[in-house]
Subunit: 343 residues, 2 copies
Amino acid sequence: MKKTDSAPATKRVTITDVAREANVSIAAVSRAMNPEGSSSPEMRRRILEVAERLGYKPNRLARGIKSQSSLIGILVTNFENPVYLAILSEFSAAIQRHNCHTLLINVNTEKSISEAVSLVMEYHVDALIVTSASVPPELVEACARQNTPVAIFGRDGEDSGASVVTCDDVEMGRMAADHLIDHGYRRLAYVGASTKEQATLDRKRGFIERLEQRGLTLHGVGEGHRHSYDAGYEATCELLASTEVIPDSIFYFDDIMACGGMDAIRHEFSHRIPQDIGIVGVDDIRFASSKSYDLTTICQPFTEMVNKTVSLLFVRIKQGDTAPDRIIMPCHITQRGTTQHVG
Amino acid sequence: MKKTDSAPATKRVTITDVAREANVSIAAVSRAMNPEGSSSPEMRRRILEVAERLGYKPNRLARGIKSQSSLIGILVTNFENPVYLAILSEFSAAIQRHNCHTLLINVNTEKSISEAVSLVMEYHVDALIVTSASVPPELVEACARQNTPVAIFGRDGEDSGASVVTCDDVEMGRMAADHLIDHGYRRLAYVGASTKEQATLDRKRGFIERLEQRGLTLHGVGEGHRHSYDAGYEATCELLASTEVIPDSIFYFDDIMACGGMDAIRHEFSHRIPQDIGIVGVDDIRFASSKSYDLTTICQPFTEMVNKTVSLLFVRIKQGDTAPDRIIMPCHITQRGTTQHVG
DNA sequence: CTGAAAGCGCTTACAG
DNA sequence: CTGAAAGCGCTTACAG
């Protein structure tokens, strides 16, 4: 490994350099750089000009030690569902629009939770976003102790002290049931994961609740080990293999499972969709609207949800000790080819 | 908005608290907390115990202002291709394993580049990873000036001063051509995007080069505006509508375009895959191995590539002014149902 | 509005 | 190995 002969690293230009060059105090520079700082227009103009000329960028680390880090932590647990890429994209864009940056925390490892707690404490993130996961009590506690606002996205975490932005999972189940029944299906089944997450339970519960209200009984259940394509595939195989009369429709916990399930239905069992079996999913992932799947699905307004989450958080950051909000957004169903069968 | 009546934010415990409690100097605490700091076993033990008891976590922001921020920036430009979710997952996990954290930079907006530069300068990231995008000269310059190592992932950026970890795009083109020809296809077409990215040009070039070497000529080209499902769909429609004799096989820039293309082929033109048209993609996204697409594709060893990128970067962080590496990983083709046609 | 000064939490030579 | 002290780059009362 030879040393590169590139120019030696020039010292970064600091507030002191700007102050010296502009012939003012460093306090003056600090104020000029901060919109809220009191600075005469003339002075600010001059300082900003010098700063620009010197290429000065305030060191956020140094700033963070006294005031805010401008860092927003985002906890992601599920890297299998492609919707999270879109969600991550929206979040980081929204956060950047607020002149902050995104600390991505991958919570998939064993020691993940303590990791996350450490992070909150070590980087002094201004706020924490938890996507589609229940927040462990330790985390909540750690954040509360540091007065760090937390928002849960896509899950309901009542009483957790965190803000919540999500859709009503029970309602999703009802929508799916209504849609299928309205389109003439009568032997409704559900496929999800056997996890004990609230969202899983709620979607299933709403689904069953509504179909019973309408005089039907659940025709079957398939449970995979996770919310993935493979789990959807396998759970569907088991479901179809175990029932004497196959269901005429299946509501899946999410699109990725539904896609796995559809492939099982078509390629393992040669049933037709939507004639033999109708399908409803949740999320509207990119492939839901592909010609291959053309999946009827329940859409959550992710973009609005993200923006809402971020703006709520910034209100809490600014106003300090504000009570958390709980926002349940409306979702809607988008009909596509998997439920065209009419009675 | 009522104020919450939760306990007031307790002051975070700092190095001073630990020093006082343990009856030592703050310097001693600092050394005890840092593996490299010289500290007698007995003293370290005692301090660590106190730190633990008090729940002390060093403030990385404060640390970062003198030494390293432990922040690794990762620039992501493409949030449409699901592979990036997997890649992001691997990167953040690898970075966390090194006891650092991931600053996600969404470079999709207008002012993206200057944003990125600012970020590097403002947060003093220890290193920067650029995924599948060419690095703008300003960025390279800014990083070089601050001695921040840069790694380009999934693109070749020779002479950029950055480390590179990628696969050989020209070779991918050749592999695709060989595979198709070996399987009896003779009227080979290419579909990609009309962008001037090096990867786009290289895959296409390798493909054409090889098929000409083997006595064929390119049968047609389709160019979308981006690397997306829709672009693949549309470009394929144009390609098939414009040729008198349709191609008998298509090499797509990547899987996501290939999926769009396959849907166009099947649903717009009712051609059969692989009998009428064979397909090869690149990336091996989750849906490539679904029953619906069952796509023959060129696989890059992403996990190894990510780990290599991260470890290279950490060597550079540790050793200071080291020359950048350039690592070209081997890729391989995975045959599935889209190229089963034999002559 | 502006400057001098103290302080944020940590690290790192420098003596001992 | 340990402590006292200076310093990192910034912010924020406090006087003027």
